[in-house]
Every structure is written in structure tokens, then in C-alpha cells.
């Protein structure tokens, strides 16, 4: 099944079918989610209305990590099995992940000023998330730095694999070291310390961002497939 889809052309046909559906779901969920963010959820007992920034910040942070995991998996797959589709996906993911990371940092900063009393501190969580942004930018630069795409893919894969080490650091920085950033509210091993009325908008926004990510990713992957095709045609003409 997976190897059947791993054929870029078949994948492209599948994309054309799925893409409009995912984008529509994302927009509908976004509208519902935004309603719950601003009107359908209570203010926090301590932070007041500032808590609403969390509904953007937390999903963005989750996806900044998830997208990096996808890139890392694809990079391992690309280096081991030399499959083009893995390269195309990791190449397409990098700018999206960078945007989510930037959104996380910016929304966190806007939340930090009224809550903590500062825009930025160099604590382990904030710094490791900034490092993630730098790695994403590195991947984007490498992806575009070489005329020879296969060379670019190989080097960016190596960077992505080295960068995996940053993921557990971001995830558990709040538990390993004392940080200004609070520990996770939602974890596997305990019931969430967020009230259900606040979890609802959070999860709707998360699903909305997920479908948004998928639809943007599909557009980008399709673009990459077409670009590679053009390159092959050009190459054949030259010969």
C-alpha cells in the first residue's frame, strides 16, 4: 500500500482528490474554533482574557514539533532507501514547520509580556524552540543552495537527522530544568490540567491547524513533483 503510493505520479493524482476536501475542513474548523476561542470559552481565573492566546500558541507548538518529526522520518527514509517522495515531502515541510515555529515564538512572546512581565527570557524551553527555528531555516537554505537537487536533499537530510536531538530537549526541557515556561498541561499519564471548557477550543484549533497543514503540504508536494517533471523534460531536450 505505502509503496504503491510512493510512486510520485500516483501520489499526485491522490493529492488532487484530497486537497480541496482538507482545505475546506480546515476553514470550517477554523471558523468554529475561532468562535469558541473568543466567545464560547471562559476567561482564566488568573490570566483573564490572555488565555485565548493559548489556543493559537499550543497547536502551533505541537505542529512545530510534529512537522519536524515528519521531516526527520523522511530524511532517514531518504538516506536509507533513496526515495524521491521522501525528499519531496521533507523539502515541502520545512517552510511550513518554520512558519509554525515562528508563530509559536511570536504568540508566546505576546502572551509572556502580560503574564510573566517580559517578552523573552533565555530559559531552556524558549531557547530550544528558537534553536528549532534556526534548524528549520538551515534546512530551507540548504534545500535551495545547490543546483543539484539530490545533493541538497542529502545534506539537508543529514542536518535534519542531527537536529532530531533537539526534539526531546524541547519536549522535556520544562521537566529536566527549572524554566520560566510552565510544564505541559496535557500529558499522557495524567488528566489534563486545563478545564474542559478550555480544552474544546484548543482541540478544534488543533484539528483545524492539522488539516490546514495537510492541505498546504499537499499543494507544495504537488508543486515539487511538477517541478521535477519539468526538470526531467528540460534535461531530455538538452540531450
Amino acid at each position: 500500500m505505502i509503496f504503491n503510493l510512493a510512486n510520485p505520479l500516483r501520489f499526485q493524482r491522490l493529492i488532487e482528490k484530497i486537497e480541496p476536501i482538507t482545505l475546506n475542513i480546515a476553514i470550517i474548523l477554523l471558523l468554529v474554533g475561532l468562535f469558541f476561542c473568543f466567545f464560547g470559552s471562559p476567561p482564566d481565573y488568573l490570566q483573564g482574557e490572555t488565555v485565548r492566546i493559548m489556543y493559537i500558541h499550543v497547536p502551533c507548538a505541537w505542529f512545530s514539533l510534529m512537522i519536524y518529526s515528519i521531516i526527520a522520518l523522511c530524511s532517514i527514509f531518504s538516506i536509507v532507501f533513496k526515495h524521491t517522495l521522501a525528499d519531496l515531502i521533507s523539502r515541502s515541510c520545512a517552510p511550513i514547520g518554520a512558519c509554525f515555529t515562528l508563530a509559536t515564538l511570536l504568540s508566546g512572546s505576546i502572551w509572556g509580556k502580560p503574564t510573566w512581565g517580559t517578552w523573552w527570557v533565555w530559559d531552556a524551553r524558549l531557547t530550544s524552540e528558537l534553536v528549532l527555528l534556526v534548524i528549520y531555516l538551515g534546512l530551507i537554505i540548504i534545500n535551495n543552495a545547490y543546483e543539484d537537487k539530490s545533493k541538497a536533499d542529502r545534506y539537508s537530510s543529514i542536518l535534519a537527522i542531527i537536529g532530531i536531538i533537539n526534539l526531546p530537549i524541547i519536549k522535556w526541557s520544562v521537566d529536566w530544568w527549572s524554566t520560566l515556561h510552565q510544564p505541559a498541561s496535557i500529558s499522557k499519564f495524567s488528566s489534563p490540567s486545563i478545564d474542559p471548557s478550555m480544552l474544546l477550543p484548543l482541540f478544534i484549533m488543533t484539528f483545524s491547524f492539522f488539516f490546514f497543514f495537510i492541505s498546504i503540504l499537499l499543494v507544495r508536494v504537488r508543486g515539487e513533483i511538477i517541478q521535477r517533471k519539468i526538470e526531467v523534460i528540460r534535461f531530455n531536450r538538452m540531450v
Binding site: 471562559p42 476567561p43 482564566d44 481565573y45 488568573l46 490570566q47 488565555v51 493559548m54 532517514i76 538516506i79 536509507v80 532507501f81 502580560p114 503574564t115 510573566w116 512581565g117 517580559t118 527570557v121 533565555w122 530559559d123 531552556a124 537527522i161 542531527i162 532530531i164 536531538i165 530537549i169 529536566w176 530544568w177 527549572s178 524554566t179 520560566l180 510552565q182 510544564p183 505541559a184 498541561s185 490540567s193 486545563i194 478545564d195 471548557s197 478550555m198
Partner: protein
């Protein structure tokens, strides 16, 4: 051996060593990676009074005192409070504006200099938010319940 397997093994070995190396590095850099000390750590370490440090903990209930002080002809409000990690306490004095979320019984991180034993002069006060989010009504119900128990 197939080339594929060889590459897979190379990557795996690299990852194991790299992770191990990073783990050792981070473990040894712990002192530099933590954002603040707890009051207990402050007492355990011999910290110079000229060294700027950060200390974090809970603001002790009913420890917040505000008094007007005249310094260089200007009237300033000196704030003092106690932070605790439920083992040791540190008396903080601070002149400036407290963040909105500063409250007794909530977490706080202060940056400044250690004066004599158990005293700390803060330059910056940052409120630390915990991982609990709830609407005000539920907070009221919970605090009523806690008081009954």
C-alpha cells in the same frame, strides 16, 4: 550485506553515539541550563553578593508588605515578600512595578543580588504561570472545597 542495510546501520550507530554524547553534555551543563535556583539551592551554594542570580519559588501567603520609602528625595514604594520552596525561605525586597499575575500563593522568579543571609534584592520580578487553566467560577468552587477539607 545490502547497501540499504549498511546505511541503516550507519545511521543507527551514529544516532546512538550522538544521543549519548548530547546526554552527557546536557547532564554536565545542568548548572548553566537551569533558569533559576530554588531558595534551598541558594543556601547550599556559596553565592557571591556581586553575582546576579535568579531565584524562583512560591510567594508565601500573607508575606507581601508594601511601604513608602524616601530615596534621594523621591517617594518610592518598596515591596517586600517571602519566596519559599517549602523547605527554605528567602526575603525579597524590590522597588518597581510588579507583573499583573503576581499574587501570594503563586510562582515567581526574581532576578537580582543576594544580600546577607536570607535577604535578596531583586532588580526584576517575573510572574511564573503554572500549568493549570480554569474559569474563575471553578476556581471559586475548588477553593471553597479546599477550605472545607
Amino acid at each position: 550485506m545490502k547497501k540499504k542495510n549498511k546505511r541503516l546501520i550507519t545511521i543507527s550507530i551514529f544516532m546512538v553515539f550522538f544521543t549519548f554524547g548530547c546526554a552527557i553534555l546536557l547532564f554536565n551543563l545542568r548548572e548553566n541550563l537551569i533558569f533559576f535556583y530554588s531558595p534551598t539551592e541558594v543556601f547550599e551554594k556559596q553565592i557571591e553578593t556581586t553575582q546576579m542570580i535568579r531565584v524562583g519559588g512560591m510567594v508565601k501567603d500573607e508575606s507581601l508588605v508594601k511601604k513608602i520609602k524616601t530615596i534621594e528625595g523621591r517617594q518610592l514604594e518598596e515591596i517586600s515578600f517571602v519566596i519559599t520552596d517549602f523547605e527554605n525561605e528567602l526575603v525579597i525586597s524590590y522597588i518597581g512595578i510588579l507583573p499583573d499575575l503576581f499574587k501570594e500563593g503563586q510562582g515567581v522568579v526574581v532576578e537580582g543580588f543576594l544580600k546577607n543571609v536570607g535577604k535578596f534584592e531583586a532588580r526584576t520580578v517575573l510572574a511564573k504561570h503554572d500549568e493549570n487553566y480554569m474559569p474563575p467560577e471553578i476556581k471559586d468552587i475548588k477553593s471553597i472545597k479546599d477550605n472545607k477539607i
